[in-house]
């Protein structure tokens, strides 16, 4: 039996053929090394993200989250739900907060869920994957499986918005959260304490509909990483990852810059440090190749430790 078990809510972008498919792969290999068992919530649905507010009612969005909670409670009772996506986690936390505060909203949500034969009972906990790492396991335990320390890899820890605000990771400040830097250091990388764009917004889903405005954000995020001599940017959010990696070529095309900064997930750093292959760490899933990490992933280390 695994040391720790959780109900897993991967979210839409992490699915096979999705824009964060490599995130899921790296999380799986990381969790395997940490003896953490994640069981997908059967038949989970989209959380509605932060963008669906024009087309939906607030209640409908709570129903989306509550359906996942109800399914989790039914099939995986007693297990905390773990989300890897910042927006999924945030949406879930908001639903819990709102439903806990209002018996009317709770009753309404359950009246709607009844149509799907489900019932949501209060008491669900939804956690972000990094909360599981830093709170349940702790940095010391996370350092133990390291077989390939990320020596000489300078990593700009880009926390972004939604794992940081409005809920954040317990004990961290909104303006300068340290958990990502600590994770980077734990696996032997070199974090950048003075990375100015740590908690800036990448433009979120507005990269789709207001690309110029988002590209301005992305340019700052990447250029600041260059200023500090970073080899790679690391983030806990699938939308941050996609936006910051994918639109660099657009910025280059429009502005004549030469941005080419790889962007990876914390789980990929951990997976590589734990001996994961290119594929296991999802390092084959990038447009801008994270060369230094790929070199470490293919490097053979002696078995003795």
């Amino acid at each position: 039996m695994a040391k720790r078990e959780y109900a897993f809510y991967p979210g839409c972008s992490s699915q096979l053929r999705g824009s964060a498919a490599n995130y899921l792969v790296s999380v799986e290999s990381m969790c395997e090394k940490l003896d953490v068992k994640m069981t997908q919530i059967p038949d989970w649905n989209c959380c509605g993200a932060s963008i669906s507010y024009a087309g939906s009612s607030e209640l409908a969005r709570h129903v989306l989250s509550a359906r996942n909670f109800a399914l989790s409670d039914k099939h995986l009772p007693g297990q905390d739900i773990v989300a890897t996506c910042a927006a999924c986690w945030l949406g879930g936390r908001e639903t819990i907060e709102k439903l806990d505060a209002s018996s009317e909203l709770m009753a309404d949500t359950n009246e709607a869920l009844k149509e799907a034969g489900l019932e949501y009972k209060a008491g669900t906990a939804i956690r972000h994957m990094v909360e599981v790492l830093v709170e349940d396991l702790g940095y010391e335990e996370l350092g133990k499986p390291v077989v390939k320390p990320l020596d000489g890899v300078k990593v700009a820890g880009y926390v972004g918005c939604q794992t940081n605000r409005p809920f954040g990771i317990a004990g961290e400040s909104f303006e300068n959260p340290m958990y990502l830097d600590k994770l980077i250091d734990t696996v032997g990388g070199e974090s950048i304490a003075k990375y100015e764009e740590k908690v800036s917004c990448c433009g979120g889903s507005l990269a789709f509909c207001e690309p110029e405005k988002a590209e301005k954000q992305i340019k700052n995020i990447v250029e600041s990483a260059y200023d500090h001599g970073a080899d790679v940017i690391c983030t806990p959010c699938p939308l941050c990852q996609a936006n910051v990696e994918v639109y660099q070529s657009e910025i280059n095309r429009k502005q004549g810059t030469k941005l080419n900064m790889p962007v990876v997930y914390y789980s990929q750093l951990l997976s590589v440090a734990y001996g994961g292959t290119l594929k296991e760490a999802g390092l084959d899933g990038h447009i801008i190749q994270p060369k230094k990490l790929q070199d470490i992933a293919v490097k053979v280390v002696s078995a003795k430790r």
Binding site: C12, S13, Q15, L16, R17, G18, S19, A20, A21, N22, D43, W44, N45, C46, G48, A49, S50, I51, S52, Y53, A54, G55, S56, S57, L59, A60, V63, L64, R67, D108, T109, E111, A112, L113, K114, E115, A116, L118, C161, Q162, R165, P166, G168, F174, C201, G203, G204, S205, L206, F208, C209, E210, K213, Q217, A242, V246, Y247, S249, G285, I287
Partner: protein, 213 residues
């Protein structure tokens, strides 16, 4: 939708603040704003907003109904939550902005072809169709929302990104034909339909037709 706007105008007369308090998600918080301006200075796209959240709150109190509801401003919210965590009065500003935008859309007052509004509608339609987002279909809907020619132009401009994502196995044309989704998507859609009915009942709205209703 125009009818609903007239109804609300009749009902609330010159008291737009009262209207916001009763009809907009988290609207009852608006009167708590003390006009410090921290939200305006913290906003990601702040320089692009015609009216910052601070101004919008004051405009609501001043009864500037049409100016507020027809504004592009709320639609520039990236949901970064910076304003919300910094607000000394702890107003849920992000939610209020979403609520105002949603209400403006519901009344038919939101600017036509507002890109974020259109994207938001496409997103909701997309994710409730099967219960999960189909990124490829969503992207195509967004790019082609202004017509075939402009869609083709956008796709052509971004072709290298598309190719990059394809080789990175993060985008696959098969998504056009096979989609991820919930097994019980009918149950999900029934629940959402019910939720819309309940919301309409509570707020005194007419139920808006959706893909699942």
């Amino acid at each position: 939708m125009g009818d609903m706007n007239t109804q609300m105008l009749d009902k609330y007369r010159n008291n737009f603040l009262h209207e916001v308090e009763e009809k907009v998600d988290d609207g009852h918080w608006v009167k708590m704003c003390m006009q410090c301006g921290v939200c305006a200075g913290s906003c990601t796209f702040g320089p692009d907003w015609e009216h910052t959240p601070q101004k919008i709150f004051m405009m609501i109190r001043a009864g500037k109904r049409e100016e507020v509801l027809t504004s592009h401003s709320m639609w520039l919210c990236t949901s970064c939550y910076n304003c919300m965590v910094r607000c000394p009065r702890e107003l849920p500003i992000t939610h209020i902005m979403h609520g105002l935008a949603s209400y403006a859309h519901r009344l038919g007052l939101a600017p036509k072809n507002q890109p974020t509004r259109d994207f938001s509608l496409i997103f909701w339609d997309n994710c409730t169709k099967t219960g999960r987002v189909n990124e490829l279909r969503m992207t195509i809907s967004v790019y082609f929302r202004e017509g075939i020619l402009s869609g083709i132009k956008k796709m052509w401009t971004l072709r290298n990104i598309g190719r990059g994502l394809f080789f990175a196995k993060r985008l696959n044309p098969m998504e056009l034909f096979v989609s991820h989704g919930c097994k019980d998507k009918d149950g999900l859609r029934r629940a959402l339909k019910k939720a819309d009915e309940i919301e309409a009942r509570r707020r005194g709205y007419a139920v808006q037709p959706r893909g699942y209703s």
